[in-house]
């Protein structure tokens, strides 16, 4: 997607349901800014309800918030978290005339595992595995100790896919560009949710701290918020040689730019624009979109669905290797999802030479062999 011209949507209203605060410098803010982007281009009005999760907003479920938005005039609703599955399915069922998007979901994927026949519910997701491979590569190029810590959110297909991607990128660059032969240590610790909810999740600040204490010098964040970067920044200010890669949001490096290796980010704007266009033009179709980067320019925010923005912490040597890696990904020379790859429990993920299908990548059942950390398993 991402190539449609903005329509004039003056008077059109869409609603945006965010799981975290709209200013989280991460996942939720990326959606929020995409909404603003669309509103600016089309003249449509955006209604935002943020912090929609049972801990922050106990009085409302997602379907209720959707109903509120519709009552306030929303003609299209974006439910922007994996966590909103139950609520958005209910809302779509209850409001068959209102088009809805469940971002990061698979309910509209006919070949997917959880196809739900709902004409008004589409899905949008970015191919963040590329962003994460780049992030991993940057980490692999930078680590001095050969140990990388990944602050993971919760365990599911998507997060395992992204951890695996980061791991593959890191290992590739560690071995190929740096010529290291010792195995790279790559550890993930899950906090239990997309962001910290005191009492229910592990505290990401402490997780980050614990990683740095036990020898990891590059942290990759998989959660919606920036604790890993902030904590690494604090350590760096104390003279330690540590770095971090935040996630989700283009401006995520801002809290500790000096040690930020860069951000893999979602750029939901183009896809959302296209969806608004289709609703305004009355040709909305409940599709499952999984949009890749714009390889011509992965920072062209008018086009790309996922991007990578290098940070000040990346050394110039690493930077040129990373550019190499990115162009390898772009032209297909490098396909890290190629066998032989095994899951943690030793079972085969990809046979020797086998290239993963979309299905195999999307539905990642476990972490890969070589990663330390818990898989959903089963």
């Amino acid at each position: 997607g991402g190539d449609s011209e903005p329509v004039d949507a003056e008077g059109f209203t869409f609603g945006m349901i965010l799981v975290g605060p709209q200013n989280d410098h991460g996942w939720s803010q990326a959606h929020y800014e995409a909404g603003q982007y669309v509103a600016e281009l089309t003249g449509a009005t955006m209604l935002v309800q943020d912090k929609v999760n049972p801990a922050d907003l106990p009085e409302k479920t997602v379907d209720q918030v959707a109903a509120d938005l519709i009552a306030e005039g929303a003609q299209l609703v974006f439910a922007t978290s994996d966590d909103m599955r139950d609520g958005v399915l209910l809302a779509a069922e209850q409001n068959p005339d209102i088009p809805m998007i469940w971002s990061s979901g698979d309910s509209a994927w006919e070949d997917g595992k959880a196809f739900a026949e709902l004409d008004n519910l589409g899905n949008v997701m970015g191919k963040m595995e590329f962003g994460k491979m780049i992030a991993g590569c940057a980490a692999g190029l930078t680590t001095q100790t050969g140990s990388i810590g990944y602050v993971g959110p919760l365990v599911n297909d998507e997060t395992q896919r992204l951890v695996n991607s980061a791991f593959l990128g890191a290992r590739y660059c560690w071995e190929e560009y740096r010529g290291e032969t010792s195995p790279l240590e790559f550890t993930v610790t899950w906090i239990g949710f997309w962001f910290n909810i005191p009492g229910f999740t592990l505290d990401p600040t402490q997780v980050a701290n614990e990683f740095l204490d036990s020898g990891a010098d590059v942290l990759i964040s998989g959660i919606d918020t920036t604790e890993a970067l902030v904590e690494a920044g604090k350590r760096a200010s104390e003279g330690e040689a540590v770095w971090a890669v935040p996630y989700d949001f283009e401006g995520a490096c801002a809290e500790a730019p000096d040690i930020c290796l860069g951000t893999p980010y979602f750029n939901w704007g183009p896809a959302y624009l296209e969806i608004v266009n289709s609703v305004v033009n009355d040709d909305f179709k409940a599709e499952w979109q999984w949009n890749g980067p714009d390889w011509d320019n992965i920072t062209d925010n008018t086009k790309t669905a996922v991007g990578w923005l290098s940070g000040d912490g990346l050394s110039s040597g690493a930077s040129s290797d990373l550019d190499d890696f990115i162009s390898g990904l772009a032209d297909g020379d490098i396909n890290l999802f190629t066998g032989p790859l095994s899951y943690q429990d030793g079972s085969v993920y990809l046979e020797d030479g086998e290239e993963a299908t979309e299905f195999q990548i999307w539905y990642t059942e476990q972490l890969l062999e070589g990663i330390t950390g818990e898989s959903a398993g089963e």
């Binding site: 200013n23 239990g192 005191p198 402490q206 701290n209 204490d213 902030v230 950390g373 818990e374």
Partner: protein
């Protein structure tokens, strides 16, 4: 190992201020149940103050002020209005927590000033010890000094004895010429101020920045540690570090008990509170009666007049 210990020490710093502050307030006979909210509010105010002024000192001062006011309100309600301290504390817990979210919105996750790292020359080079104790920021050193200073004040000075007296038996303190209620205001404010410094020590040091619910739950655990610590600064500090160590081990154990990690992270809360059951059990009581030496470790006698008010005439 030394690195981990240093981290635990640093991460525990804010809670030291909170726990010592509340210990002082309770020693004077006032229980401030609002901690979980006031710590949040002071973390927010501390960050906002430092952000707006560019000076962490202003941040700490603002946080201490706000939190001292909350504690004073509890004291005032009890002394002047004859209200129940628990009731007022509980309402303040709710209100200050909500206020932190409401007023703190503009400050969510923006970079701001932080306390600066100041390793202590020479001492920092001592093997092992140097890493643990002497490579921190001033507020960490401050917390360690505070533990010893509080101990010294409480048990080695005249004013310290008075502080203990007014919370133990106010009519006796009164008969010895102490202005009981005035001192209670004073120590409520001092304790509250320390709680506020603890709150700001999160947002400016141990857990940089502000976000909604930044310190949720830690106020309750602080209240439990005060009791666990038997209203003694050393034991209270031990409780804080133990709690910190338990939280860190929970992260370490994710590989071993994958299903239980998040649960392990929350367990120090109940463990702390259930230790109290043990401490108060008749068996432990009779043990400490028989072996007074054990009382230092196992005993936990509250200041007798805690939570009550004292009226002259």
């Amino acid at each position: 190992m030394d690195v981990t210990l240093a981290s635990i020490l640093a991460a525990s710093t804010p809670l030291i201020f909170v726990v010592i502050g509340e210990t002082i307030t309770e020693k004077a006979g006032v229980i401030n149940l609002s901690l979980d909210g006031t710590v949040l509010l002071s973390a927010m105010v501390g960050f906002a103050g430092a952000y707006e002024s560019g000076s962490v000192i202003v941040g700490f001062a603002a946080a201490a002020l706000v939190s001292a006011l909350a504690a004073l309100l509890v004291a005032y309600s009890s002394i002047a209005l004859r209200l129940n301290q628990v009731a007022v504390g509980f309402v303040l817990f709710q209100l200050t927590g909500e206020l932190s979210a409401f007023l703190g919105d503009p400050y969510v996750r923006i970079p701001g000033p932080t306390v600066t790292y100041r390793p202590i020359p020479l001492l920092e080079d001592i093997p092992f010890i140097g890493k643990i104790f002497f490579q921190h920021d001033l507020i960490v050193y401050g917390s360690i000094v505070l533990i010893f200073l509080t101990y010294w004040f409480m048990f080695r000075t005249r004013r310290g004895l008075k502080l203990q007296a007014i919370g133990e038996r106010p009519e006796a303190a009164h008969s010895r010429g102490m202005p009981v209620n005035r001192l209670r205001y004073l120590y409520a404010a001092v304790g509250g101020g320390l709680v506020g410094i603890g709150g700001a020590a999160y947002s400016l040091g141990a857990k940089i920045g502000w976000s909604e619910g930044h310190t949720t739950g830690l106020g309750w655990i602080a209240l439990a540690i005060v009791i666990f610590g038997g209203w003694h600064p050393y034991r209270a500090a031990f409780g804080v570090y133990l709690f910190g160590a338990l939280q860190f081990s929970a992260i370490k154990l994710q590989d071993v008990f994958p299903d239980l990690t998040q649960v392990l992270g929350t367990l120090p809360f109940p463990i702390m509170i259930f230790t109290l059951v043990l401490v108060y059990s008749d068996r432990v009581r009779s043990l400490t009666d028989r072996y007074p030496a054990l009382r230092g470790i196992l005993g936990s006698d509250p200041p007798s007049a805690i939570g009550t008010r004292f009226d002259v005439d």
